[in-house]
Symmetry: C2
Subunit: 413 residues, 2 copies
């Protein structure tokens, strides 16, 4: 591989920045920082104030995206993640990627030894308090004002427009992607699983972000008295749900790919009383994979199992697809850049892997090349305030990220 100037990040500064953000909305050892809550707004303003130190001009736009723009000549990479959190969740989910981008910008943008610049973004509401990737979707031009007018917080019902106005961002224009400006988008994130830790690896190079196929399965039974209705004549929607899900658990392993996952998140029986045979069952079921062939195969199997159970009776079963995204492939050159940097700065302890969770990178990948880097999650814990990553892994990840940025801007790799 050709040589290029390799930037040296400041590990202590990365940890200090993350710790500063952790104090805003602290909850136990994590944070409670819902979208546009005071600690989230405080975090956005902190980032905007930090961007000039990385040679970037800050903007907070009308959807509360923070964007740092460089006037440096040469190619430009866009990099970032998000600053809000799930309710009562971890300190690194989001901020890690923003601070990696900020640190890469600091070491690259203000140093004439390095070609081009890293521009920094913090996308608003990746965690979906008000919608679905609202900030990054707005940036790629996928959000209409009417959609924002209707959006409300899923926890407390607050209107997004009111929350934006209260933060001081009401009425501002929304910044959209400038075609051809960036060679691509890079995002770092905690893995949120235990694959890296279990295999003593330090860097995950994301090859794709899985698609989530979400289904509502509705089973119609006949509500009746749980004491007087003989077993033989019952049409128990709850029992039909149990048999269906037990069968899926048996059948799915035959059709999955090596990293497929499937989950029943909710079972609702109506009316849900101890002495009434359920007249209706509703199941929320999803599976995820990054291979379209596997996704199609699993949907076909789900429908086949449901049809078999409905035919056997006594309850009709309806399988309704709620969501069927496509997997987002990460750019091959970006994967190689992360891998090469991991050889130098992480002893080659990296692996290519799918991302089982959704990220803003999948939204950006629709308009520009995108790449993602993972660092290990201790115990695989995620979306919980105990979420953590060792300082050593955080610092190694920041170095790999900055090195890969510099290599890509230099046209190396």
């Amino acid at each position: 591989m050709p040589t290029f100037a390799d930037p040296k990040i400041d590990g202590a500064r990365v940890i200090a920045d993350l710790t500063t953000l952790r104090r805003m909305g602290a909850f136990k050892t994590g944070v409670h920082k819902p979208t546009l809550s005071p600690p989230h707004v405080q975090s956005l303003e902190w980032l905007a104030e930090a961007l000039p130190g990385a040679g970037l001009t800050p903007t907070i736009d009308g959807i509360a995206n923070v964007l740092g723009v460089s006037s440096k000549n040469g190619p430009k990479l866009l990099a970032g993640s998000h600053l809000e959190s799930q309710n009562e969740a971890g300190w690194l989910d989001g901020p890690l990627g923003v601070i990696y981008a900020l640190e890469a910008a600091r070491v690259i943008n203000t140093n004439p030894d390095f070609a081009g610049a890293v521009e920094v973004a913090a996308w608003c509401d990746e965690e979906g308090h008000f919608g679905n990737f609202l900030g990054s979707a707005s940036y790629v031009g996928d959000i209409k004002d009417a959609e924002l007018d209707k959006a409300t917080d899923r926890t407390d019902g607050r209107r997004l427009r009111d929350a934006l106005a209260a933060a001081g961002y009401g009425g501002r224009p929304r910044v959209v992607v400038e075609k051809g400006r960036h060679i691509g988008y890079l995002e770092a994130h905690i893995e949120q699983g235990d694959w890296l830790e279990a295999n003593a690896l330090q860097i995950g190079v994301v090859r794709s972000i899985v698609a989530i196929w979400q289904f509502k399965i509705v089973i119609d039974g006949m509500q009746n008295h749980a004491g007087t209705t003989r077993m033989a004549i019952r049409r128990d929607a709850g029992l039909a749900a149990v048999k269906l899900l037990a069968d899926i658990d048996q059948q799915f392993p035959k059709a999955i790919g090596p990293r497929s996952v499937w989950t029943t998140g909710r079972i609702t029986l109506e009316p849900g009383a101890p002495s009434i045979i359920p007249g209706r069952a509703e199941i929320l079921f999803q599976f995820r994979d990054d291979d379209p062939v596997v996704l199609d195969r699993l949907e076909a199997l789900l429908r086949e199992i449901a049809a078999k159970h409905a035919k056997a009776g006594p309850c009709p079963i309806d399988v309704i697809k709620l969501r069927g995204s496509t997997p987002a492939r990460m750019d091959e050159r970006f994967q190689a850049a992360f891998e090469n940097a991991a050889k130098v700065h992480a002893g080659g302890r990296s692996v290519r892997m799918p991302s089982g969770a959704g990220h803003d990178a999948q939204v950006l990948a629709a308009v520009i090349p995108a790449g993602m880097l993972f660092v290990p999650s201790i115990g695989g814990i995620s979306h919980h305030w105990t979420e953590n990553t060792s300082d050593a892994d955080i610092i190694a990840g920041a170095q790999v990220f900055a090195s890969a940025c510099a290599a890509l801007l230099a046209g190396v790799g």
Copy 2:
């Protein structure tokens, strides 16, 4: 069998009385008559006004039980049921037994050809809006004032004391059973199942009221991200619940009695979100039988299955018994009296059977001999506004009920 004067009921009057009660709180073809709602209070007052026509002195006491007392010499039977309904439910569940008692009292009490008298009761809140058989339990001395002070309506939270005061019954004494006054208690009810209809029978002679054993099954898992957590390391409480319930469905038929029923009324997965692996599952599970040996066997099997699943892992399972009543045996002589009357007035188309539902008769059975008679439910439908029984079956049942009362009062059978 020895002869006795057989009373002749007025079928048209029975239908007319039931129709009058149906108009109070009418809902579609049924009624919506929660405990102490205006239509329920109107029904209680209507009954109190009707009792003198049956030679009875009416009282509505401090728990809104309506009681009709006779001053006629000779033995006395207590008979009745309840006048409130489940929400948006049927017109016969309760009123049928009250009107049968009223009609038997009319034809027996005022006629010197018949020995003794039928005293009529309408027990308040059999349907459990405020508690558990509050009216009949009060009558047998099982309710303390402090319990009534705390009781609230499970639908709207209204305090029982406020509801009693609003109806005009606040501060009244509660009437309790006078030891030795009655030779026993009789109650008629719709079957609420389809056994009589399916077998072309007209009268069900209840041999016992089943016990309900209710359990809460709690499964502890580990809440985690549904995208990033590999299948192999999951501790999915929802999946554990599904497997447990599917196994119960397989195993229970080996241990049941001929009329056992078992029901899962509710499954709650926490947090219940589409993309989160459930960290906790709670199941409401019950079984019913009238044989204590079968009940014990089913509980042992339930605990054995749960222990097996807990041991296989990955989730601990806790089986908590919420309710474990004993079956209530109906008096053998009362069963024979119903059966004999059915020979004369229902062409012998009767069967002895357990009651799968709870009734006030089980509360009275703890202090005096008790008997119950069922009439067919069309389609086995119950606790629904479409609940119904043919006029012919209603009238035949009233005749069998009155004849059995007369025979028992005459000391025949």
